[in-house]
């Protein structure tokens, strides 16, 4: 028995399961991956540099376009940062509206991800079903905000649109409908033989490793660490009750379960927010320019995003730095890859819920 022959297979940047461009050079021995070398940089757009030429109010819309799925949370994180720099007190109603739109984004993002995962292991019926459910959520965003995904409703000092009481009731009805429909597919996600065969025991990251690798979001919670940036109580989360979803197994199945159960938590948070939303103003006028430096965290569907903003008293910021959750999860992904089968790579790639255009900005 001589040394096994090694083969290098390029995974991406164009790959059927991964719409976003990341390349992995997979070094294989037979069907086993022994090493993975990532290469990113295909969709760098230089959005952070735009702070030099767009004023701090215009930058909300640039920040929103960093990610096409969790766009509202990007705009909200940026606005929260500027509001903290300028000591702006946002009206309570705006805080609640921010929570409602954030959680709608979380629901649609998790459903989209679940569909993509189902597609990755060849479960087409589940893929179609989840995307059918998701369609109602993006329709609701169009009805309330005017656009389907990049809703442009957040601004420094509050939100730009109000939701009427009738629409709030329609949102509650929609959450009940989605809950029913998601419960109908729960059995096929949690107990299905095919799903379990492709996810249980694959890509295991234990609690210590997860913490050391600096993982974020559902990845971290899937490994048993109870950490959710919403516990910090930004926007109106301080007034709402929720328990972060935690699983201990740390494998692909645990991460799937975490994201699946988070859909129900998000739906519950929307209902709580609608029940508690106060009447009043939705934004306050912003006067002057920001000064100082701030770091702010917000929980996105993919995990914790961190914005570092540095302002110098002019209308243009000096620096904006974004640390996206996918960037935090790539080291974990590279740790999971060596030792796995080639056929499991797409499933592993999808359980980190990669958003490469976020990461490269």
């Amino acid at each position: 028995m001589g040394e096994k022959r090694r083969t290098v297979i390029p995974f991406g940047p164009q790959h059927p399961v991964l719409p976003e461009p990341i390349q992995l050079k997979l070094v294989l021995e037979d069907e086993k991956v022994v090493e993975a070398v990532p290469q990113i940089g295909y969709v760098h757009r230089g959005l952070e540099r735009l702070v030099k030429v767009r004023d701090f109010n215009q930058m909300v819309f640039v920040a929103e376009r960093i990610c096409g799925i969790c766009s509202f949370q990007h705009a909200m994180t940026y606005s929260l940062g500027i509001e903290r720099l300028m000591n702006i007190e946002v009206p309570e109603r705006a805080n609640y509206l921010r929570v409602i739109w954030s959680e709608l984004h979380r629901v649609h993002s998790h459903l989209l991800w679940l569909g993509l995962l189902a597609d990755a292991f060849g479960f087409e019926a589940l893929f179609m079903e989840t995307w059918k459910i998701r369609e109602a959520v993006v329709d609701m965003m169009e009805a309330t905000a005017g656009s389907r995904v990049i809703i442009s409703t957040c601004q420094v000092g509050g939100v730009r649109r109000d939701i009427s009481p009738e629409m709030l009731q329609a949102i509650v009805k929609l959450t009940e409908r989605i809950e029913r429909e998601v419960k109908a597919i729960e059995h096929s996600v949690m107990n299905d033989y095919t799903v379990q065969k492709r996810t249980v025991g694959i890509g295991v990251i234990n609690k210590d490793q997860a913490w050391k690798l600096g993982m974020a979001g559902p990845m971290l919670r899937g490994s048993g660490v109870k950490w959710d940036a919403r516990m910090l109580g930004y926007a109106a989360y301080k007034h709402l009750n929720f328990e972060p979803v935690v699983e201990t197994a740390g494998d692909c199945y645990a991460r799937t379960v975490v994201r699946f159960r988070e859909i129900f938590v998000a739906l519950d948070l929307i209902r709580q927010a609608v029940a508690k939303i106060p009447a009043g103003e939705i934004n306050v006028p912003v006067k002057g320019n920001p000064t100082g430096e701030v770091m702010i965290q917000v929980e996105q569907p993919r995990g914790e995003v961190t914005y570092t903003l540095k302002a110098n008293g002019t209308k243009y910021l000096e620096r904006m730095h974004v640390r996206t959750p996918t960037f935090a999860n790539i080291p974990a992904f590279l740790t999971m890859l060596p030792g796995c089968e080639l056929a499991d790579v797409p499933v592993l790639a999808l359980t980190i819920d990669p958003c490469i255009s976020c990461t490269e900005r």
């Binding site: 767009r54 109010n57 215009q58 930058m59 909300v60 819309f61 640039v62 376009r65 019926a125 589940l126 079903e129 059918k132 369609e135 329709d139 169009e142 009805a143 005017g146 656009s147 990049i150 442009s152 730009r160 649109r161 109908a184 597919i185 059995h187 096929s188 107990n191 299905d192 033989y193 095919t194």
Partner: protein, 119 residues
């Protein structure tokens, strides 16, 4: 293994989830942001929309009374609509369809009337 059977049977017996698009169109929602339009006769060419626009898709030439929009650069955020002092900008709720030739929406208006100077 038969977990999906119930949703599949339900879908099989129920109505289709999609529309036959070109024949059956869904109306846009009431406040949807589709495309930017201007009522050029009321425009005073102040240029506030140009300064507020995050995507630099607008140009205004006061000397020629010209307002120009690059619709394929516009992100349809609606900031200009909120900022316009004369409320002459508005959003059409129907989205802009694909085009063979990408042309700017250029409009020439009436020059703003100068106030009479009292001597």
């Amino acid at each position: 293994m038969f977990g999906m059977l119930k949703p599949i049977l339900k879908n099989w017996a129920g109505k289709p989830a999609t529309r036959l698009y070109p024949f059956d169109k869904r109306d846009a929602f009431e406040n949807a942001r589709g495309q930017l339009e201007i009522d050029i006769d009321n425009c005073i060419f102040c240029g506030i929309c140009v300064r507020k626009c995050p995507s630099t898709c607008l140009t205004v030439e006061k000397a020629n009374s010209k307002w120009e929009l690059d619709p394929y650069n516009c992100v349809v955020c609606g900031v200009c609509v909120e900022a316009c002092p004369k409320k002459c900008l508005h959003m059409n709720k129907n989205y802009r369809t694909a085009a063979y030739v990408k042309e700017n929406d250029s409009q020439i208006g009436k020059p703003p009337v100068k106030k009479a100077v009292v001597e």
